[in-house]
């Protein structure tokens, strides 16, 4: 199964990646190989196998509803590329 250049560009856009034409061709080839490998699984009879969402075999892992303050707030803010006082700061997203 071959992936078109347009599909590569669309995937790149969704991932916020800017690709050169060379890269589009190269990644298209790589993605096609990955899909071909996955396609080998198509030979298996899976009609009676439900889609797998989890392979752990456990369910309902939960915690009690007890609030607990995290003390390292400053470190979280410092860890961001930019901050402004108590806020995280990002590039302007509306004019």
């Amino acid at each position: 199964m071959s992936i078109s250049d347009d599909e590569v560009r669309k995937i790149a856009k969704l991932a916020r990646l800017r690709l050169s034409d060379d890269e589009v061709a190269r990644y298209g080839g790589q993605l096609t190989k990955i899909l071909d490998a996955m396609a080998e699984l198509g030979a298996l009879e899976t009609g009676n196998v439900p889609p797998t969402a989890s392979v752990l075999g456990v369910s309902d892992v939960m915690r009690r509803d007890e609030p607990r303050a995290f003390e390292g707030r400053e470190r979280l803010l410092d860890n961001a590329p930019d901050r402004d006082g108590p806020y995280f700061k990002v590039r302007k997203i509306i004019a």
């Binding site: 669309k10 969704l14 916020r16 969402a53 989890s54 752990l56 456990v58 369910s59 309902d60 892992v61 939960m62 915690r63 009690r64 509803d65 007890e66 609030p67 607990r68 303050a69 995290f70 390292g72 707030r73 979280l76 803010l77 860890n79 930019d82 402004d84 006082g85 108590p86 806020y87 995280f88 700061k89 990002v90 590039r91 302007k92 997203i93 509306i94």
Partner: protein, 483 residues
Amino acid sequence: MKQYELIVGLEVHCQLATRSKLFCACATDGFGEAPNSRICPVCTAQPGVLPVLNAQAVELAYRAALALECRLNARSIFARKNYFYPDLPKAYQISQYDQPFSEHGKLLIRPKGAAPKTVRLTRIHMEEDAGKLLHEMGALKIDGSLVDLNRAGIPLIEIVSEPDIRTSEEAYAYLTSLKEVIQFVGASRCDMEKGEMRCDANVSVRPLGQEKLGTRAEIKNLNSFKNVKDAIDHEFRRQVELVESGGRVVQETRLWNAEKQATVSMRSKEDAHDYRYFPDPDLVPLTAAPERVAALKASMPELPSAMRARFTSELGLSEYDAEVLTGDRALAAFFERAVLEAPKAAKTVANLLATELLARLNAEGKGADAAPFPPAHLGRLAGLVADGTLSSKGAKDVFARMWETGKDPRTLVSDLGLSQVSDDKQVLEWVTQALAANAKAAADLRGGKDAAIGAIVGAVMKLSKGKANPALVNKLIKEAVKA
């Protein structure tokens, strides 16, 4: 011009009333608090962290679903909804997609000026909220956008209706009923001003009689029930005019601008999101075992609609009174406890509650559980009115004192000079008059119908302006009919 039909489906988000976030222990009380004061490595998406589901969020979500007559799916899974936006630090929102925890519900709505109808619910799923973005601080321009993640990870349910809504009044009634039910079972406080309840509307039109649905526009930014109603009315006119002038409705997201009373296009289908949902490998499936569902169902409170029906049919209340009393669970509970004290004076209890208690509580912005006296006192006060001890004017005076002092109305009746007359001679005179004036009841009583004494007692109370000692009255009546 052709006749057009309006078709609306609503998507409503409600914040589940938990103390901590959906997947981490950060507190949910961040509204109006310092920015980023409720954040941790999980809700800020630091590398290597893992989400752990909040058991109470599940409990509340399940209760909401059962109250909305939804089926709880035996197994549901969490999925990642992928998109980039700075209010979403993980670059995906944990939500539920093809296997939500609940489906196929229904809600009875009572639109103004029209017959009640049932709106089907497609599904309810759980998801986490995003953070908040700030683009300017008052007049101060910022050279970037600021991010507050106090809301990031707050637990939500999204309730999706079928396109069963046909008028903006129905949309309004749907939201009213939905809020009532969700609040009643304690799943969400639904405070719209705090963003605890939000609504998007899917709106389309079709020529009357046509089967096929028209192309829909999704309207966002609807932050009050009135906005929802106004936006739907506007969008209906816009789409009809568009179609009538030879145009076509395109599938798009539009924002409601309440100031301009208009919807404006936000993004069209060309740049529609491709969310690439997939099961979140960090979270395991969630189940709803039949035993748990049965236990939950058994623990559900009586819902407002059922309660209203009981109040009108069994207690003889008016539709209006029943509506007022069931508008709030604490108020309904207060009423029911008060009525236990005066089972035959439910109407009086309801009147006192609505005119005296509720007026005062509302003025102070308080709920029924903040009343300065127990429900039994209100019941007793209603009883004193019903048995003639107090006039309705007297009841108002006593109520005012109850509100101030929290005292038992029976104590207040004597304090306020409404105290009982226990003078044998005076009371006997009233009893004699009452027996003479109520010949039928007197005869019934002599004939052994003990219940008839009520009418005589009532008559004595009237004659004495409520001041006769009831015990003495009873005693003297019994003696008089024996003699």
